[in-house]
Symmetry: C2
Subunit: 412 residues, 2 copies
């Protein structure tokens, strides 16, 4: 089956849809109103979820096993789905009973976390974000630590609190900096923030002690999702020396439900930023690419009917590519497993209106921004944050849908 602009589905897919036949992301859903119903693997096509269990023997409750099969199996599944959904293929097009059984309107599905996340790693790969955070937290001397240009700095995140888009976020409580000689502040976070990130989902893993060569790294990455690395800046600032972020992050991490495959993203590949100094050989790659994925963050305050955009940035600003992240992660022998997540870190761009979190946008609350007819330094209770990503092609888009979450008040 040929890829590209000529391919068309028998289903009508709106021109601006995130999910044309060229995308075909993978996810897991349950029919709305059937809380006891089994989770079903699916792909998205236009405004429908295609229930894969209804068209094949696939009946896993997560995608982990499929992810472990590797790219040949993914390509075969993709080709099969493109075939049965194409305008020229009668098998599904002309079988009304089968269509009714396997095509579920998006309005009738509840998306679930598509993978069991064994381990989740958060990298720090936008130099703009690294520089701004360094400046805010450590001052102007060395905003970017010298190691940053030699390796993709990262840390382990919390896997248990990775949640699916749409889940509410309870404002975390915790300790913030003491003022003077007082006890530290304790209470609801006063600096609750979003972080606009993407995350790579690992396919086949590696055995402990056997690094993955950078030349093979791409074969171990299934696809990408949009991620909100919710952050409590006051908790983070107080706890973080010397072992890094912990409770300022671990209360929730939201991901978008549809994993967009690298195969679908190929037409949007672009050169990654030139690296200076040259990376060490284990990080040097022939095909040093990012993807041109425009990203947006919106906030919808409770009392407003519309969301307002607060930043526009792009995945392509990432200095260390996902393949470099993967080669680095395993160079010490660390083992990956199917379904592991690598997040990019906040994807800030170089322009003032392309910063990926409120910490940077409001310079740690030193200035306010307008959100519709409200103002914000950090997130308030009732705010809904909507992240979205969509590659714009000449004839079609390849999108990720949204990654959303609404802030609920802290526990009393």
């Amino acid at each position: 089956m040929a890829e590209g602009k000529l391919l068309r589905s028998f289903l009508e897919v709106p021109r601006d849809s995130h999910f044309p036949i060229q995308n075909l992301p993978f996810g897991v859903f349950r029919r709305r109103g059937q809380p006891e119903g089994p989770p079903r693997p699916a792909t998205a096509i236009g405004d429908f979820a295609l229930d894969l269990a209804a068209v094949s023997a696939a009946a896993q409750e997560t995608l982990n096993m499929f992810l472990g099969l590797g790219r040949p199996a993914w390509k075969e599944a993709r080709a099969t789905l493109q075939k049965i959904l194409s305008a020229d293929e009668p098998v599904l097009r002309d079988n009304e009973a089968l269509r009714k059984n396997c095509l579920v309107p998006m309005s009738d599905v509840e998306m679930l976390l598509p993978i069991t996340v064994g381990d989740y790693t958060d990298f720090f790969c936008s130099v703009h974000h690294a520089r701004n955070c360094g400046f805010i937290f450590r001052g102007p001397q060395t905003p970017v630590n010298p190691n940053w240009f030699h390796l993709p700095v990262g840390y382990h995140g919390r896997a248990s609190s990775v949640i699916i888009s749409g889940t509410d976020i309870i404002r975390p409580r915790g300790q913030g900096h003491p003022t003077g000689s007082s006890q530290p502040y304790f209470g609801p976070s006063q600096k609750l923030d979003f972080e606009l990130e993407m995350a790579a989902i690992v396919g086949p893993g590696n055995e402990l002690g056997k690094p993955i060569d950078i030349a093979d790294a791409e074969d171990h990455i299934f696809g990408l999702v949009v991620m909100n690395d919710w952050s409590a800046r006051d908790i983070q600032a107080w706890e973080t020396i010397p072992l890094g972020p912990f409770l300022g992050k671990s209360f929730s991490t939201s991901v978008s439900p549809w994993i967009v495959t690298l195969d679908a993203l190929k037409p949007f590949a672009c050169e990654a930023p030139k690296q200076e100094p040259e990376p060490l050989p284990y990080l040097a790659e022939k095909n040093h690419i990012n993807y041109d994925i425009p990203l947006e963050a919106w906030i919808k305050p409770k009392e407003q009917s519309e969301a307002s955009v607060v930043t526009k940035t792009n995945f392509k600003h990432m200095y260390w590519t996902v393949t470099q992240q993967l080669a680095h992660h395993t160079v010490n022998g660390c083992n990956l497993r199917p379904g592991d997540m690598f997040a990019t870190g906040t994807l800030s761009g170089p322009e003032p209106d392309s910063l990926g979190c409120l910490l940077e946008i409001t310079w740690n609350g030193q200035k306010e921004i307008s959100v519709g007819n409200s103002i914000r330094k950090f997130l308030q209770d009732g705010d809904e944050v909507i992240l979205t990503a969509c590659c714009k092609g000449e004839d079609y888009n390849v999108g990720f849908g949204t990654c959303t979450g609404k802030i609920l008040p802290s526990l009393p």
Copy 2:
């Protein structure tokens, strides 16, 4: 069934055994030479593993489900096991066929990782270790960061590379500090170290957004294991700013196979260090206790027939208790799951011969120590590290066995 010194098993248990009837730790084994055989939950009694699947319907391949049941179920299982193993009870004592079927000599078992580790957190709870590391890595100004006395500092570790005692450790490769304006060093770690720690194994978890009150924290902790948090100090030192340890730790973390329950450790409870300043209310506990668990680290160089002790310390030096760690970990709403691990951090004591890692013992390689008739600054290929822990009672011990690992050369 009464606990205490009067209880005796019908099996002869040597006086210095780690596993008398007062201990009864839980683990998972496979019969040696049966690589395809199913993992079996077990308890240890003297020199035998008691196969729990052979005496009850328990046939889980890990202990996670049992851990999730909570203390009433654990106490009932413990009481039942103490009963059937006691000298006065004929059911097993007088049934040779059953004994043959369920009591497996330790020499015939291969111990397996007893739990699926969802998330693993490493704390930093010995003030002596914190002070020494701060001094070595950051200098004498503020060796202990001000937050340390207000909260149990910790970070997320890597769950995939938690391995069972006895698994070999391949020396990791990675980047170390550049000297002057050169590229960073890349190659096998030149500062490979052990860290003598213990880890708490979580029982019932909590729902995301619902913290566990410190008064209930103990009910969520099943027991303890001995842990070696292998560390590559050169990799760690270069990568760690600003997000904390990553590849310097994630190549392997070894745990001892038998989880010793808090119930078995009760007779060895002791007051925990007085805390100054007073902890915030969410960390203040009525019953502020540690356990008196003597710990030792031994090294056996390849060319020597005997291991030599390199440090002796104690679990009781921990400033922040495991219950405080748990209350802190969840105060932001972070969810725990059965089988999660909380490690203590290196359990250094106050004396020069009670330091828990070579970084401290050799002051980052500035001095050498004798190991039998060899000298060491850091670990060499072929070295086997043996950690052990054993509570010494008047009439019996409650021990953990050993946590071992041998260093294999790095990949070429």
